[in-house]
């Protein structure tokens, strides 16, 4: 079956839904979108209506309702489901159900067995340790008992003291969490119990699972990622380089990502950065081969100031920040003007097309930054701002991709039900100096205005992003 005979149901919203629609169009594949009442004015709804009419648009009650998604898939004749990120993207039960039901549908993502194996942070840690891949010291299964958690925390404090760490820290994480949600650190064992209970209660409310992970908190590190892509036969596995995602909110959510992960040509590091990047790519590919990885995925690493890498987790899905890797990479035989589109590659290979190229065909040019534009107050713990956006505009440039679901020609009320990302701005340049200069130029040109019902002005992270642009890739 030619991939163009497929119709993809996009089980997601906002910016990622728009990019999937655009990728489907590029590949000549049909699409169907879903939306909830809160999203009726979202850009993905408008785009779907424009490109496919009302026949490709279905209102559902919830993006979390698998029955509804599958019911729409059947009614619309969809042959594949793209989960985007969040929602069902890393739910192996959903992926298994989609493919194994009576009217089987392709799940555009890794096979359910791979998601089950790697989607669980704890299992990934175990698997990585079996391959000699370094991981962060701490629990390798979710903990539900307070006494056990406290005992583990005590041993991690002792371990760090023995290592000569002056101010040891322990991280308490909701095991079912993600995207930086439900993570707190503890500096004193006496405070552990109250933090543990807070995270456990938060996890129960938000993720319906009280499981908690306890890890050593490694400070003074950079957060790196390796972008992997493989086709369905899992023999052709390639990487699209590294990213540095160290600039985050106080809640450990990414705000600015840079590709590649380090720039030893212009920044001095305490270690051999080229070699470190090679090492984490090699480890990531080894783990991908071990589990027969068969779609896109991201291997997340932390790297200490001394250059020690630790594998944190594998995200078995497309990442928000995929575009910045795509912006700096080229595939041999394709027009540079086409650029690389990792979402289109994910759909194409997910539908069964062979990869069609090898690692030697992928080259990396320039440097890229992705900015996450968010209505929030960085000076108050990155508290989300909720209200109406009245003006949203920027100056287009040949070195800029802007992805957003926020309309630029009509007011937009920010829904409180979903993650607060408003837009992703991706810029690239020939080196770090040029990409910084272009990044600042883009941010300067951005107009984001609005107000709450009480008339209070919109708050955003633009000043934070400008300030942090100057510090990219530095420890």
């Amino acid at each position: 079956m030619d991939i163009s005979e497929n119709k993809v149901l996009i089980a997601n919203r906002g910016e990622i839904a728009i990019r999937i629609v655009q990728a489907c169009r590029k590949l000549g594949v049909g699409f169907v979108c879903v939306y909830t009442a809160e999203d009726a004015r979202s850009g993905h709804v408008r785009l779907a209506e424009e490109l496919g009419g009302s026949a490709c648009l279905y209102r559902i009650a919830s993006y979390h309702d698998a029955n509804e998604i599958l019911s729409v898939a059947d009614t619309s004749g969809a042959t594949a489901i793209h989960p985007g990120y969040g929602f069902f993207a890393e739910d192996y039960r959903f992926a298994r159900r989609v493919t194994q039901r009576e009217r089987g549908i392709i799940f555009i993502g890794p096979s359910w067995r791979v998601i089950r194996e790697l989607g669980d942070k704890i299992n990934t840690k175990r698997l990585a340790r079996s391959l000699g891949v370094p991981t962060v010291p701490g629990s390798d299964r979710p903990i539900y008992a307070e006494l056990e958690a406290e005992e583990l925390a005590r041993s991690l404090f002792d371990f760090q003291t023995q290592q000569g760490i002056k101010n040891p820290l322990v991280l308490v994480k909701a095991s079912a969490g993600g995207g930086g949600m439900g993570i707190e650190e503890v500096h004193d064992l006496d405070l552990f119990r109250s933090v543990y209970r807070r995270v456990r209660n938060y996890a129960a409310r938000q993720f319906k699972d009280e499981g908690v992970l306890i890890e050593q908190r490694i400070r003074d590190f950079n957060h790196l990622e390796v972008q992997i892509l493989a086709d369905r036969n899992a023999r052709n596995i390639v990487h699209f380089g590294t990213r540095n995602c160290s600039i985050q909110s106080t809640g450990l959510q990414k705000r600015l990502e840079v590709a590649p992960g380090f720039d030893p040509a212009s920044v001095v590091y305490n270690f051999d950065a080229d070699r470190l990047l090679e090492d984490i790519i090699r480890h990531s590919l080894a783990l991908a081969r071990k589990v027969s990885y068969d779609n896109v995925g991201t291997w997340e690493w932390i790297v200490t100031r001394e250059g020690q890498p630790y594998l944190m987790e594998v995200n078995t899905r497309i990442q928000v920040e995929n575009g910045v890797s795509a912006a700096i990479s080229r595939i041999k035989g394709r027009e540079p003007s086409d650029g690389t589109d990792l979402i289109a590659e994910q759909i194409r290979t997910g539908l069964g097309d062979p990869l069609g190229y090898t690692q030697e065909d992928i080259s990396f040019h320039s440097m890229g930054i992705e900015y996450r534009i968010i209505a929030e107050n960085p000076d108050n713990g990155f508290a989300p701002w909720v209200g109406r956006i009245e003006k949203f505009s920027w100056n287009p440039a040949p070195w800029l991709h802007m992805h957003t679901h926020v309309p630029t020609d009509a007011p937009y009320d920010i829904p409180t039900e979903f993650d607060p990302n408003l837009a992703l701005g991706i810029v690239w340049g020939k080196d770090i100096a040029e990409v910084k200069q272009r990044g600042l130029e883009f941010l300067e040109s951005l107009r984001l205005e609005g107000s709450t019902a009480k008339g209070e002005p919109l708050q955003s992270n633009l000043a934070f992003l400008k300030k942090k642009t100057l510090d990219i890739l530095k420890f």
Binding site: A61, D65, N67, E68, S71, Y202, R205, P384, V386, T416
Partner: protein, 215 residues
């Protein structure tokens, strides 16, 4: 508050009209025994364990969900053109009306009598854990509140902050939110009864008991 005037106002217009919308998408089928003008029964029994009149069902992915009348009343109209068709979430399938129940009248009057503490912004709200336990174990009316007390957790986009109660001291008499749904700004979260107002609230109860017909 002039309870008599309010009661008279309600008595002058004692019906509530509403649309029945499907909770999610799927194929809808109507109860073939029903037609416009039919009487509907609402949930009954000590714990409302007896369901109201079956209005329709909706099926998605072989999961059938029945849609029942939520109030005793009358069926005004049915959107027959949707019968047997796949409908989107929120599609309106019927129009009904019902005579206000004693509890509805009481709640309406209470909203005018109690001190209402409103949601400052659109979000999900929870009681802080120690209050939540108390509400679940012994009921909201066992919880005393005072000005400045940390009472709620506000959750927006999975980010949580606490919210302090501001208003007169008293007991929580009514809770208007649940953890599953967002509350719009300005909508009440709780109704608080200050001790000095207890007599007035008892009067409201008495008036409704004596002046409003049985459900």
């Amino acid at each position: 508050m002039d309870i008599s005037a309010l009661l008279e106002e309600i008595k002058a217009s004692p019906y509530v009209e509403s649309d029945i919308a499907v909770p999610h998408c799927g194929v809808v089928r109507f109860n073939s025994k029903l037609k416009a003008g039919d009487k509907l029964s609402g949930p009954r029994g000590q714990w409302k364990e007896l369901l109201g009149t079956l209005l329709a069902d909706i099926e998605r992915e072989r999961c059938l969900k029945n849609i029942y009348a939520r109030e005793k009343g009358e069926l005004v109209s049915i959107n027959y053109e949707l019968a047997g068709k796949f409908v989107e979430a929120g599609a309106e399938i019927m129009h009904v009306r019902h005579f206000m129940s004693r509890n509805e009248v009481l709640q309406t009057l209470l909203r005018h009598s109690l001190f209402l503490f409103n949601a400052p912004e659109k979000a999900k709200y929870y009681f802080v854990p120690n209050i939540d336990v108390k509400v679940k174990n012994t009921g909201a009316q066992s919880v005393s509140v005072h000005d400045g007390m940390e009472l709620f957790i506000i959750s927006r986009m999975k980010r949580e902050t606490t919210l302090r109660y501001t208003g007169p001291d008293g007991v929580i008499y009514a809770v208007y939110f649940d953890a599953e749904h967002h509350v719009a700004p300005g909508q009440p979260l709780i109704g608080v009864c200050p001790p000095a107002q207890l007599g007035q609230i008892e009067d409201v109860f008495m008036r409704v008991q004596t002046e409003w017909p049985e459900d």
